[in-house]
Amino acid sequence: MHLRNALRAATALSLIMVGAAQAETITIATVNNGDMIRMQGYTDDFTAKTGHEVEWVTLEENVLRQRVTTDITTKGGQFDIMTIGMYETPIWGANGWLVPLDDLSAEYDVDDILPAMRGGLSHDGTLYAAPFYGESSMIMYRTDLMEKAGLEMPEAPTWQFIREAAAAMDDPANDINGICLRGKAGWGEGGAFITVTANSFGARWFDEEWMPQFDQPEWKAALDFYVNLMNDYGPEGYATNGFNENLSLFQQGKCGMWIDATVAASFVTNPNDSTVADHVGFALAPNAEGVEKRSNWLWAWALAIPAGTQKEEAAKAFIEWATSKDYIELVAAKEGWANVPPGARTSLYETPEYQDVPFAKMTLDSINAADPTNPTVDPVPYVGIQFVAIPEFAGMATEVSQEFSAAYAGQQTVDEALAKAQAIATEVMEAAGYR
């Protein structure tokens, strides 16, 4: 009797312990973008499949970045999965702060991840974060206005054509701006846009000796072109417009063209939010005449596991679930193919149903046209297209883009802004010991 009770207790105890080892609660920090919010809605599916529970910490992009960076650099251990981008992944991976994702299951089919995404989320050939969704940038334009202007958008236009088209579509009397582009300060906002624009004019952030290049004519050409284009045909106050501001302008029918993230395509073609949903066409991001690099970037929001988490297995299980083909099918079945997270997997673009989505092909072409290891015309010592994957970049580029935004607002000239940018970058690079 006595013994039996003891045995029973032991069995119960071991069951509890096994249960505890199996079913865990993982904490995931993520950004408050639509696709992630949707993912949260399907958490129950994950819990049903694996038994693990999920606690979400959803924050806006800037706060998220600040929060997860503080935590990982101090080894605070607050999160079991962090949502990070293509900028952070290689840097953190190199520091040994992330769990390598080199033992994912065969069923997961890691080779299905788009090569550009896999490359951008790896360090020394090891994958450190799994892309949840990926994006490039492309032109979105109003087919009706283009027709009215008597023009036709080529598949791969030049900046010169964009300027002509903007001039033709600009119609202040009817509250239509020829073109809307990002001008907001911040390395991930206007900073990203002007960097890719500069790339397409043959400019680069640094030469092979890490010498800042803002004093070169290509940068001046790019910035001059951008400022003139926007002053002539852009919306009021474009110096403070970022992704969101431009999105609402475009959805309200106030822009002839908009060059921005490919994920915007599903927003502008969604009739619930967009007044112009039926009149949107897509084209590759432009380049300056005679420059081989186009102005499209590459970005992915990806899931990574901080090294040192006690719940690595559960975290891996979550990543395999959230970035799997099954998840894509789950969303497609419930909300339609236009709403699945784009830009991560090759198989998605081979799915016939997805090929019917109007922006699918252009998104894939844009992603494929981006090469983070070879982003500019002249060789550079860095990886990244709209960013430079070094720890100093975020701070430096934010300050540089603030100078540019001040030039957009007419508070200083392009030359002044470039001179300041050169000074800021030189100072930072010297302080960091590159030079």
């Binding site: 408050n32 929060r67 605070g76 609402s248």
Partner: protein
């Protein structure tokens, strides 16, 4: 208070005050109105004031997406806890400063205020590392302590000024009757200081409720208050004004309601010793 004035002047006063009051309140009103619109109506041009289809959709979305109750609970616990803890520490200190002043009392008061001048962001890493060591990250206890420390100087100062206004004669009389220190504080001072303590509590509750740097940076899940709730609705990809407005309304409603009921108390109580 109620001075006799001509009805005409009263009318002018009323009109002017209401106009200004509504103007100041308008941004909040607009936020509340926007929270009942659809996202498309929220950015409609020209703007829609009342003539839109009122919808509770945004509140539904917010309630479904986030565990509002938990954020609210954390805000109440952190703001309330830090206020109570602050009072426990501050009442004796303010009492002794007010009734047993020394030459250094004023210096100590000013020094206490000066501790508020260290820019929070400059000490983020030190405090974060400290919290890791102490195991206080993402704990309500940790935030209660931090919020208490941040607001302690204000609490001490406010209480000090209230206590100063209590006539010393009463205390002396009590002492003559043989009241102990404890009795003195409990039965004489405290009742007389209740209005002051109440408005101190209110002010500190509001300050702790609205603090958005430490509450965001030291929490994740368990202790995240409404400031973190707001951070999950500000500037996502896509349209968000209406949802943000709904979330904002939910975040400020509790404190607005509290303010509404305690308005008289606040108007009377926030003297900071300004009244002689």
């Amino acid at each position: 208070m109620a001075r006799a004035v001509s009805p005409r002047r009263k009318l002018i006063n009323t009109g002017l005050a209401w106009a200004i009051g509504l103007l100041i309140f308008f941004p909040i009103l607009w936020t509340i109105l926007t929270s009942f619109k659809t996202e498309a109506q929220a950015i409609a041009s020209p703007p829609l004031f009342l003539g839109f289809d009122w919808t509770l959709e945004n509140y539904g979305v917010v309630m479904e997406r986030s565990d509002y109750g938990r954020f609210l609970m954390n805000s109440i616990i952190i703001a309330g806890g830090s206020t109570i803890l602050g009072l426990i520490v501050a009442v004796p200190a303010a009492w002794s400063m007010a009734f047993v002043p020394s030459r250094r009392t004023k210096d100590i008061l000013l020094w206490m205020l000066s501790t508020k001048m260290l820019p929070a962001v400059g000490v983020l890493y030190p405090i974060y590392l400290l919290f890791i060591q102490l195991g206080l990250l993402d704990s309500r206890a940790g935030l209660v302590i931090v919020m208490m420390l941040i607001n302690l100087p204000i609490i001490v100062w406010m209480l000090y000024t209230y206590f100063r206004e209590i006539p010393v004669e009463i205390l002396e009389a009590a002492r003559m009757d043989g009241a102990t220190l404890k009795e003195e504080v409990l039965y004489i001072l405290t009742p007389m200081a209740v209005p002051g303590i109440a408005s101190t509590m209110l002010l500190n509750f509001i300050l702790a409720w609205n603090e958005a740097f430490w509450t965001l940076n030291l929490t994740a899940v368990d202790a995240a208050p409404l400031t973190a709730f707001i951070a999950s609705y500000s500037s996502p990809e896509g349209l968000f004004f209406a949802k943000l407005s709904a979330a904002s309304t939910m975040a400020i409603a509790p404190i607005l309601i509290l303010g509404w009921f305690s308005q008289k108390q606040l108007v009377r109580g926030l003297t900071f010793g300004a009244v002689k």
